[in-house]
């Protein structure tokens, strides 16, 4: 009987058994080892704590962001992020601007940390990508243009909808701090795929989930707390070919 000792890099992986498909042919090359590992499909729900500071950094701005991720196959996580944004700018004597909107991002994360052999910790270090979409409703309640020759201009612009699409890359950490609680941070680089400013005479000040509407690229930082909800586990078979057989 031949036993393979293939080690899988997954945070929830536990090698149950390895089989040798070519056991009946000890002299043949190559030999295939099938490793069956246990994968935990925990639903990890997160709240971005860094958004709490936003009203202090930019008065009039409110942001809320939440996320959900789950391991699909070993070390590969599907991620959905949702959020809401609100902005109020009162520029005395010039204009009053109000916007609100929501966004979502979908993508994948690849874990690069080796698994905890005791199946106790759920730490991951990851990199991944997101596709983002935002819808923003913006209104200019009033604006004023001073003109000493022909006369001053006063007006308003009714509510208009603006959309943004972007691609982003992300890297970060999620570290377990309690049995079902993780803390994590991520850094992100984004690039806008469309031109929302071309379809309106009021370029959006902030595109929800992306950043400043005047920029084509944006960088961001998230600091989140996560709550893990164990849902189910599955067995995942890893097919691995080796060039020589192992003898027990």
């Amino acid at each position: 009987m031949h036993i393979g000792h293939a080690q899988q890099k997954t945070d929830t992986a536990a090698v149950q058994k390895d089989t040798l498909s070519a056991a009946e042919h000890p002299g043949s090359q190559p030999v295939r080892h099938d490793s069956v590992i246990l994968v935990s499909h925990d639903l990890r729900l997160g709240i971005d704590l860094s958004r709490i500071a936003m009203p202090f950094l930019q008065p009039g701005r409110r942001d809320v962001e939440a996320s959900a991720d789950m391991q699909i196959i070993p070390n590969l996580y599907g991620v959905v992020e949702l959020g809401y944004h609100q902005m109020q700018i009162n520029k005395s004597g010039l204009f009053e601007y109000h916007s609100h909107g929501y966004f979502y991002r979908i993508g994948m994360d690849k874990n690069i940390l080796p698994p905890d052999p005791n199946h106790q910790r759920h730490d991951i270090a990851y990199f991944g990508f997101r596709l983002g979409h935002a819808v923003l409703q913006q209104t200019v309640n009033s604006y004023h243009i001073t003109d000493t020759v022909w006369g001053n201009v006063d007006g308003s612009i009714p509510q208009q909808a603006v959309q943004g699409f972007w691609l982003e890359i992300v890297a970060g950490l999620k570290i377990q701090i309690a049995k079902y609680v993780d803390l994590g941070w991520s850094v992100r680089g984004r690039t806008l795929l469309n031109h929302p400013e071309r379809k309106t005479n009021v370029p959006p000040y902030v595109i929800p989930g992306f950043g400043k509407g005047s920029n084509r690229q944006a960088f961001d930082f998230n600091y989140s707390v996560f709550f893990r909800i164990p849902l189910f586990q599955s067995h995942y078979t890893i097919h691995k070919k080796t060039t020589s057989s192992l003898k027990g």
Binding site: K91, L94, Y97, I145, D147, V149, W150, G155, V202, S214
Partner: protein, 156 residues
């Protein structure tokens, strides 16, 4: 202690930097029609020239004096943001009768930036003019979004 001080200083700098684009206007906000003066040699040749101007004023009542006794190669005048046309009276020194130029356009108010507020951009449609002293005129740039580009050429 020094580390804490630097941390506080850095945080204050980040906080203040976040609102700079709302507080400060860093872009030019002047949007004016620039008219260049040219001397026509024949139907195909011309060169830019300086025009001795007695005055340039708006056509509407009461008139507003825009240029007074100058010799200029070009003038920049504001277009009316409340109407789809503007008229100007150009009185050269060398002529007894002034010329009138009427510019018809479409206009759009646009948020230039949060720090600067709104400006009006114009797209020139047609121009009409008298020919007491002006030989001809042409629109070389229909889009009036700043003060730096020449929009209309007047040939004398």
């Amino acid at each position: 202690m020094r580390f804490r001080l630097w941390t506080i200083v850095c945080l204050l700098m980040i906080i203040s930097a976040c609102n700079q684009d709302i507080k400060i206007c860093e872009e030019p906000t002047d949007v004016k029609l620039t008219i260049g003066f040219y001397h026509k040699i024949d139907s195909t040749q011309y060169n830019d020239t300086s025009l001795s101007i007695a005055y340039v004023q708006t056509l509407h009542q009461p008139p507003v004096l825009l240029v007074d006794t100058s010799t200029l190669q070009s003038i920049s005048v504001p277009l009316n943001q409340l109407a789809d046309s503007s008229g100007f009276i150009i009185q050269p020194d060398s002529a007894n009768v002034a010329d009138t130029i009427l510019i018809y356009y479409a206009r759009q108010q646009k948020l230039l930036s949060p720090g600067c507020g709104f400006v009006t951009f114009f797209t020139i449609d047609t121009i009409h003019y008298t020919t007491h002293h002006i030989d001809s005129a042409s629109v070389v740039n229909k889009s009036v979004i700043n003060i730096h580009e020449e929009h209309i050429r007047l040939f004398y």
